[in-house]
C-alpha cells in the first residue's frame, strides 16, 4: 500500500519514512503542503497520507480541505499530524476533511493502529469501487452475448439521436431479427438456441465497424 508522508521538518519526515517502510508501506515523501497536494492529485496517488498540520504556505488542514472539495470516488485516507492536544483543534482538523489525527511525538502502537485503520479503509473502498463497476457492467450487458442489453442500447440511442442532428451527421439504425427462432429451440433445445444466438452476434460484430453499437 502506498503512503504519503508530508512534513517540513526533515528529521520527522525521515523518521516516518523509515517507520512506515518497516511496516510494509511504499512511502512517498513531501516537504511542503504544495508538494503533498501535487502527489495527492497525481495519476498514481497514494491511498494513505500522513500530513503535518503546520507547514508554511499550504498547511495540512488546507490540503485536507482541498482534497475533500475534489469529491473523488476513491479519496485518500488523510491522517493529520498535530502536536496540539486541544479538543477544538482536533475538531477543526476533522471538520476540514481529515479522516483521523495522530499526535507528535508518535506512539508506536497508536501510529501503527491508526495506519491500519487507514489501510483497511482504502482496501474496503477499493473493493467497493470494483464491485460497483462490475455491477454497472452487468446491469448494462447481455449475459449471453456480452453486448449491450435493451436498457443500455436505448440509453445510447437516445444520446446518439440527439447528437446526430446537432452535428449534422447521418445516423443509421439497423435491426437484426432471426426469423423462426422457435424452430431452432424446438429442434436443438434452449442450449442449442443459445449457441446460435452467440454465433450470430459474433459474425455480426465481425462484419460491423468497431465503433458500431450493438445490442442483444
Amino acid at each position: 500500500m502506498r503512503a504519503l508522508v508530508a512534513d517540513d521538518d526533515t528529521a520527522s519526515r525521515l523518521l516516518l519514512e523509515k517507520v512506515l517502510t518497516r511496516w510494509g508501506y511504499e512511502v512517498v515523501t513531501a516537504s511542503s503542503g504544495e508538494e503533498a497536494w501535487k502527489v495527492l492529485t497525481s495519476d498514481d496517488s497514494p491511498d494513505i497520507a500522513v500530513l503535518d498540520w503546520m507547514m508554511p504556505e499550504l498547511d495540512g488542514v488546507e490540503v485536507c480541505r482541498r482534497i475533500r472539495a475534489l469529491e473523488l470516488s476513491s479519496p485518500p485516507y488523510l491522517l493529520l499530524l498535530t502536536s496540539r492536544g486541544d479538543k477544538q483543534d482536533i475538531a477543526t482538523g476533522l471538520e476540514s476533511g481529515a479522516s483521523d489525527y495522530v499526535q507528535k511525538p508518535f506512539d508506536h502502537d497508536e501510529l501503527r493502529a491508526r495506519l491500519l485503520v487507514g489501510k483497511r479503509f482504502a482496501e474496503l473502498n477499493r473493493k467497493l469501487l470494483d464491485t460497483q463497476s462490475e455491477l454497472r457492467r452487468q446491469a448494462l450487458t447481455d449475459p449471453l452475448t456480452h453486448i449491450m442489453n435493451r436498457r443500455a442500447i436505448f440509453g445510447r440511442l437516445t444520446e446518439e439521436m440527439a447528437r446526430a442532428p446537432r452535428q449534422g451527421l447521418p445516423l443509421s439504425i439497423g435491426v437484426l431479427d432471426i426469423d423462426h427462432f422457435k424452430a431452432i429451440n424446438d429442434r436443438f433445445g434452449h442450449a442449442g438456441g443459445d449457441v446460435v444466438l452467440q454465433v450470430v452476434v459474433e459474425r455480426a460484430l465481425k462484419a460491423l465497424r468497431p465503433m458500431t453499437l450493438s445490442a442483444g
Binding site: 521538518d9 528529521a11 520527522s12 523518521l15 518497516r22 503546520m54 502536536s83
Partner: protein
C-alpha cells in the same frame, strides 16, 4: 493515602476535592508556588475543605530566615531539601500523631506531596528506538539528521524572538518543538513549547514589558541547545 501534585494550582484544586491532613509543599514551583498555594488554602473563601490542614514547607533555601518566611505565610513546619528519611519520619509522626498508634478505628490520614516534576532529559534515545523497534542504525541516522538541522532551527527562532514578530516566533518554535519531540530531545522540546505558548499569549512581544523576558528566553534556548550539543560531542553523536 498519598496523593501527588506538580504545582500549587493542582494542590489547591485537590484540597477542594478531598480533606487532607498533611501537605508536604515545595516552595519553588512553576505556575503557582508553595507560598501562594498556602495563602489560598488558608483562605476560607478558597473552597478548600480543610483550611487548617498541616502544611510542611520543602525548600532548598538554606538561608536564615527561610523558616520564618514559611511560618509567616501560614505553614506549620519546615523541611530542608535534600530530604532525609529520618527527618521526614519525624515530621510526619509529629503532625499526624493523633490517637494511639495502631488503633484500628482511626481513618488513614490523607497526605499530599506537592513537588515540581523532575526536569526532562536532554535526549531520550528510547523515543526513536521504540518507534523503530530497536533499529539502532536508522535511529542514529535520524538523530544525526536532527543534529544537523537543530542549529539552524534554533538560530531562526532566536532571530524571530529578537525581531519580536510573534507569528514568526510561533511558527519557528513549533517547528523546533515538533522536530525535538519526534526524536526525543525532550529538554529542547519543552523549551520550544514554552516559547510557542509565550508567543501565543503575546508575552514575548508585549511592548510595555522590558526586553528582559526575550533575553532570558533566548539565553534558556541557547543553554538547552548547548546541553544537547555537548551531549552529542561527548558521546560522538546522540545515539
Amino acid at each position: 493515602m498519598l496523593t501527588t501534585a506538580n504545582d500549587g494550582a493542582q494542590a489547591l484544586q485537590a484540597t477542594r476535592e478531598k480533606r487532607y491532613d498533611l501537605i508536604l509543599m515545595d516552595v519553588q514551583m512553576p505556575i503557582m508556588d508553595g507560598m501562594e498555594a498556602t495563602r489560598q488554602i488558608r483562605d476560607s473563601h478558597s473552597g478548600t475543605l480543610n483550611p487548617a490542614v498541616t502544611i510542611v514547607a520543602l525548600t532548598a533555601h538554606a538561608m536564615a530566615g527561610d523558616k520564618e518566611r514559611c511560618l509567616n505565610m501560614g505553614m506549620d513546619d519546615y523541611l530542608a531539601k535534600p530530604i532525609k528519611a529520618a527527618e521526614l519520619q519525624e515530621i510526619i509522626s509529629r503532625w499526624l500523631a493523633t490517637g494511639a498508634p495502631g488503633q484500628e478505628s482511626e481513618p488513614m490520614p490523607e497526605v499530599m506531596a506537592v513537588t515540581e516534576e523532575p526536569a526532562p532529559p536532554v535526549f531520550d534515545e528510547m523515543v526513536l528506538l521504540n518507534l523503530l523497534e530497536g533499529d539502532h542504525e536508522s535511529a542514529a541516522e535520524i538523530a544525526n539528521q536532527y543534529l544537523g538541522d537543530v542549529n539552524g532551527q534554533v538560530a531562526n527562532l532566536r532571530e524571530a524572538i529578537q525581531t519580536g514578530d510573534s507569528l514568526l516566533i510561533r511558527e519557528r518554535a513549533h517547528l523546533l518543538k515538533g522536530a525535538s519531540a519526534s526524536v526525543g530531545a525532550q529538554a529542547l522540546r519543552y523549551c520550544a513549547a514554552d516559547i510557542e505558548k509565550m508567543a501565543a499569549t503575546g508575552a514575548l512581544t508585549d511592548a510595555s514589558r522590558p526586553a528582559t523576558l526575550a533575553a532570558e528566553t533566548v539565553a534558556e534556548l541557547d543553554h538547552q541547545l548547548n546541553l544537547l550539543l555537548a551531549l552529542a560531542e561527548e558521546n560522538g553523536g546522540l545515539m
